[in-house]
Symmetry: D2
Amino acid sequence: MNNDNLFHNIHEECGVFGIFGHPEAANLTYLGLYALQHRGQEGAGICSSDGTKLFLEKSLGLVADIFNEKVIKKLPGHIAIGHNRYSTTGSSTIENVQPLMATYSLGSIAIAHNGNLIDIDPLKQRLERDGAIFQSTSDSEIILHLIARAKSGEPRERIANAVRQISGAFSLLLMTETELIAIRDPYGIRPLALGQIKDSYVVASETCAFDLIGANYIRDINPGEMLIINENGLNSIKIFNSVKPAHCVFEFIYFARPDSYIFDHICVNTVRKELGRQLAREHAVEADLVIPVPDSGVPAALGYAEESGIPFEFGLIRNHYVGRTFIEPKQSIRHFGVKVKLNPVRDALRGKRVIVIDDSIVRGTTSKKIVKMLRELGGAKEVHMRISSPPTIGPCFYGIDTPTRQELIASSHKIEEIRKYTTADSLGYLSIEGLRKVIPNSDIYCMACFNCKYPIEFQSKKVSQLELFE
Amino acid sequence: MNNDNLFHNIHEECGVFGIFGHPEAANLTYLGLYALQHRGQEGAGICSSDGTKLFLEKSLGLVADIFNEKVIKKLPGHIAIGHNRYSTTGSSTIENVQPLMATYSLGSIAIAHNGNLIDIDPLKQRLERDGAIFQSTSDSEIILHLIARAKSGEPRERIANAVRQISGAFSLLLMTETELIAIRDPYGIRPLALGQIKDSYVVASETCAFDLIGANYIRDINPGEMLIINENGLNSIKIFNSVKPAHCVFEFIYFARPDSYIFDHICVNTVRKELGRQLAREHAVEADLVIPVPDSGVPAALGYAEESGIPFEFGLIRNHYVGRTFIEPKQSIRHFGVKVKLNPVRDALRGKRVIVIDDSIVRGTTSKKIVKMLRELGGAKEVHMRISSPPTIGPCFYGIDTPTRQELIASSHKIEEIRKYTTADSLGYLSIEGLRKVIPNSDIYCMACFNCKYPIEFQSKKVSQLELFE
Amino acid sequence: MNNDNLFHNIHEECGVFGIFGHPEAANLTYLGLYALQHRGQEGAGICSSDGTKLFLEKSLGLVADIFNEKVIKKLPGHIAIGHNRYSTTGSSTIENVQPLMATYSLGSIAIAHNGNLIDIDPLKQRLERDGAIFQSTSDSEIILHLIARAKSGEPRERIANAVRQISGAFSLLLMTETELIAIRDPYGIRPLALGQIKDSYVVASETCAFDLIGANYIRDINPGEMLIINENGLNSIKIFNSVKPAHCVFEFIYFARPDSYIFDHICVNTVRKELGRQLAREHAVEADLVIPVPDSGVPAALGYAEESGIPFEFGLIRNHYVGRTFIEPKQSIRHFGVKVKLNPVRDALRGKRVIVIDDSIVRGTTSKKIVKMLRELGGAKEVHMRISSPPTIGPCFYGIDTPTRQELIASSHKIEEIRKYTTADSLGYLSIEGLRKVIPNSDIYCMACFNCKYPIEFQSKKVSQLELFE
Amino acid sequence: MNNDNLFHNIHEECGVFGIFGHPEAANLTYLGLYALQHRGQEGAGICSSDGTKLFLEKSLGLVADIFNEKVIKKLPGHIAIGHNRYSTTGSSTIENVQPLMATYSLGSIAIAHNGNLIDIDPLKQRLERDGAIFQSTSDSEIILHLIARAKSGEPRERIANAVRQISGAFSLLLMTETELIAIRDPYGIRPLALGQIKDSYVVASETCAFDLIGANYIRDINPGEMLIINENGLNSIKIFNSVKPAHCVFEFIYFARPDSYIFDHICVNTVRKELGRQLAREHAVEADLVIPVPDSGVPAALGYAEESGIPFEFGLIRNHYVGRTFIEPKQSIRHFGVKVKLNPVRDALRGKRVIVIDDSIVRGTTSKKIVKMLRELGGAKEVHMRISSPPTIGPCFYGIDTPTRQELIASSHKIEEIRKYTTADSLGYLSIEGLRKVIPNSDIYCMACFNCKYPIEFQSKKVSQLELFE
């Protein structure tokens, strides 16, 4: 139950949704969370307010399974926030499912957090020294404590003061009995967009949530902004000094839905496809087919195919009915792990020179299984792996659930070594320069996972640990 | 979510069980909770420790439904505490199910609480002023905050300091990674007994939990005692100055299981039967039968029958398969509410003058239904109601789930008025003097529900509210 | 899945309830089943009809858990039958939960069956020879096949013809789209009563079901009667020649609820108590206390106490919160099996000479545990066991779930041997003559479990098996 | 509960899997069903045999949710068959989930059926006249009755005789205690393939099930073949006279997984893509983009794009986390129904002339919603709808869940009328000739849904109903 290691915190890659001023606030939040389901499948929750009291329902599981009419009825009111929690092994407890709700000196407050805090140890130690108790292992609980401990002021002042004490990535939705408050860290690491549906305001991690409920995009919550939404409308407060933004480039590469617009309304699908084109320019190879690792590799594969002129093919079919766990037979089945999700289309692959496009390589084990499957089951003559992002060499401390540095194959292996490990005939990663070319205004992005340049200085001595790995 | 009213706190009438030093700590705790199921049916939880880490499993529902082998396996270790929560309407949320567990500056701690705190508003206000956040509506969370806020000292010192700040009824089990700590308020309001099974120590609300697991009773945890149980054995610390005890007399009258021994090992069944004898001496009436309202009225009815020489009969049969809610047909059924639980044995009652024994009258509505049912369905010629306790005129602030003063029929009505309301031919309550005669050493008991003499002074201004009702 | 052994059929000790002509037929059936829950806890089902179509809902579990508003809504119409299934180990499959429903040449039909058929092997073999398929292991399915195979005639004729081919105990409720049909075997082995609530007719295994819904008892369904209830009212048809009835005496001794009236409206509680009185007359012993094994032993213990003048006491407390299975710790607990249900009241028993009253002894193992518990835990000086029925020497083929002959301790052991086995100081069974004295008109009862005189001749060669055991 | 209408039978579009001779038969069957999940999501079941006894587990829900280690353990043995049931509204009852299991004169038998029988009314009437009872509304139960009613012979002879009496589409797996039997109707309407994994034989609806467990394809079960698999290996019996096959062409167009090989091992993906090419040749139009309706329209869209030279784009994103039902807000959301599944990628579509490829149009309502969404939300300038199959004018009686003739928009509307209804700028269907060109050996396919030429003559007078609609 101890959060004492910077590298083993529970990562908060999640989706958030909030709405103010709608008579069916909880119902729309449920739909918003459903549209954001790809950002977290472990659990979900909704907190609503009828103006005087907060109501909370949360559970482990998928949005469509947790919320039914009976549950939605228990969430009255015109304000609501919701949260999808990412599935990380070993911490599947109801205590960590958000929103977190608490009462404190000024009333009730709830929080939904996308992102990951850093340098929380000194904060936690200080809070614990001052007598705080922690009932979850979620970093987000720290924020509630900081708000409660603010010496004086209205809730909004306290919230601003609290948030100024934390560091890291945070796209936050907070809620009192009467207000919805959206906050984004000064670097704008995670996305957070503001929309409108009739007279109601909505806030969501991605615009695909707006599309489902018929809301219009207005603008992003600005980095460093606290936006208070209440009966009087919008009230924007700049609570952080301006710094150069550091949007997470990985949202484009893998995490966001392709039909979403993020980071001041850039289309994810367009970027992803352009990454494929650039990849083709950088790593051409003679081949018969370009195939994606579905679903995330699809747009880049299309881009690669268009740029290279090599035909695009759906050479791997994905089974979407994946459950939590699989009962593997005792007599092991070849490629079982990857075959539960993917199956090659042999007719399309047999005897072909295949370029397979994936968005990234983490440990390398899945890539290896895919290459082998394409060759052994699919009958591909050659398998050329192309990755639509640069080598992943740095762990993410801002909310993407990457493993520790040591487990990242590219942090300690040359590309040729990785190629050998995956058994691919050739392997090409997009270059950082290529990535920069594709992403508009690319210097306002965090690319730490590719270049280890972390935009936020670590206060904690734990930074040294990071260095030690190099 | 606000606990701001002294009279609407969630009442903590519950059962607790703890064990130290047993390889199957969680399994025995589960059995202990099962034996204590009558003390709370809303939810249950177990927290265990393997010496380095706490594990928690809790859920709404009955003990036998919540815990199976798979769940017990998730609770390793040699220390465990468990809690049964009383069913009170409207607050059935998992957040309030105990044990509560938290981390703080010195590590992890869990708490299981039987009883009810009073004067918590100033405490909560002070804590909230100091920045505390509350994530449940359970009073017990206050105790964790007080422990965490202690300026210094070992856990046990902090716990002692914390507990010295609270007021009310508390039979507490606390648990760290390495210790089990049992504490009882200075008045010893709720029961708490210490037992032994081989080399392990057990603590439980009632001795019936010892019986099931084969443990022997050693002694009660003393009022005002903090008993620390760890690798070095027992360590008893007196953390409160001595006061005259104020054991809850209602545990004898209604709440405890008849086979349990409470308050320095007095047999509940024996007391309950003697109450019936005394009631017979005080309120004799010519009749053909003595029948109990099962199950709690049985021993007193036996006592009344023995003393009066009038035959005892099981004139009301109780259906024990009661679920949470019943789907009543639209076409209302006479006496439906009470018939779901009780059915008269007509053959035994027809034409008879019946004395019906119940342990208490709260609002009077159930008594009225029973009298009518005995007469109309059972065919009783006369129905004489006898109550094995004095009129209930004061609400309990120490953990029994009584309604507010206004709802207590005896607080504002004369006995003859109550008789008329229930339609009984006669009505007799045990006198307070009679009660004192039966209970050994009766001046060390709280009888506030019968005489409004609350043993603990209210600090809060809310006391005036109580007065106002008189 | 084979029903090929006469002695291993699934025993159909169950409860049935039916209603015709009520707009809330399913809701009242649910309440009726709830009142009859003691007759079967494994599963329950309700089939309703709106006049044109049958609707069926059934599940494993308790009535109060299976049926909620949502399920009741799926059961529209003014006719309904319901069934509680007895829990027998190893056959807990949804296929065997009743009512069974089927379509055949004349439409739809559903059946709920209390009792047990005998000589089903030739019937099944004949049906299978004729091409029948069996989809459950329930004997009741045979009846549906026989009805469907009748060459011609209206449903009621076919039903009569079908039922004339079966042998054994059957209190049946059948239902078509438009009729409710109640049938009782010619011996009237199991109870079945007719009642009325306003303009609706109800049929139930026991009258306690009438009490809950406010119905009045009219009369029993007669042995050998087929009672058709439809828009035109009641139509009684005698479908069997008269034989001397053979009501199951064990319903009085153990199975029925004490507040029920069975077999032409005899009060179960009254009989049970009288059995205790007679037992006292037959097996007096000097003692200090008479205690029952709750709940079924209570009335007989009261009768014994009254007759003997020895004080009645509740010396064993029963825990009613019993779940399906218990996780016993690896380190075995003394008396665990019986302690999960019963705990002695030590204060009442210590040093006392105790007469313990139970309704019957089957294998003897439970009796032995109870005697030991009373002595070792309860501290009783002497334990005299008294049984309010004669020695159980014959298995029941008519629906009581008794074990095979070999397992019945009294079938092969003298009373002194049984006493030694149970370690009781003395043991007395009620005599058959005593039983006959108590039961009014006792020659119309089946007492085969006590005297091996089976009222229905076995056609099957399997009878020899029964003889062989002697 | 009546199956009396030819047009409202429950359609049996399902997936089947069987295995003989594997120690983990049930586990592999579970994996096979998981791979076939796309063929039916309403419920699933597995029946296994240990050589002497059958074991059955079935439930409503998805394969990955129904089967866990505990359930698989209840299915011992080396033989197993499994079934995925298609979701059809209104008939979600456990009784209809397969395999169906029954006992009859020769022992136990279980059946799993993919396909749909026709002319069952005379059969059912005959069976009912002979006394059969039906306990499900599944046609497959008829087959069990026919087997049980065969006058004599071994199980295999009876099965052959039974199957010769039925008409329609059936790919059947049957199972006794010792044998696995696979049967395909003489037209080979539904697919059924034989494979091998080590020494075990497997049978499955599609080869994607072989891929997951690592089995090799051997051959198809032939139309009209009964293949008996037991300890002695394979034994093939021709139980029907040869007729011209009539494979379901719709399996290629929509139903089968693209990575499967069906109908003598033709790759579904290859056919589907070629359909797109042919569609492009037939219905060229000037446009900027070709987009599929995912997932089934993807290969055809790729083919269309390749042939036309117009860029392929993923213009619609599908949300795969779809639950059973959605709680739509009271204030209706535009395009809600289709937006729950699909969302346009605006950046890719805005101002573009878009060709959208779908596999078929049934009622036309979804197509209309998609066209409007592409235009209104996506901003497409033109929307040209292209369908990779001919107009669907005839309902399927062989197992595809199409609506009645009246509901098929193309059965009563000209293409221009359909275009107007969908609001598309243009609409083109693949021609029947085009379809024939693409499908190898196309005269051995059933194309009744496109040309109303039903390969199996209807015996029933109900055929006239079909005509009446024209």
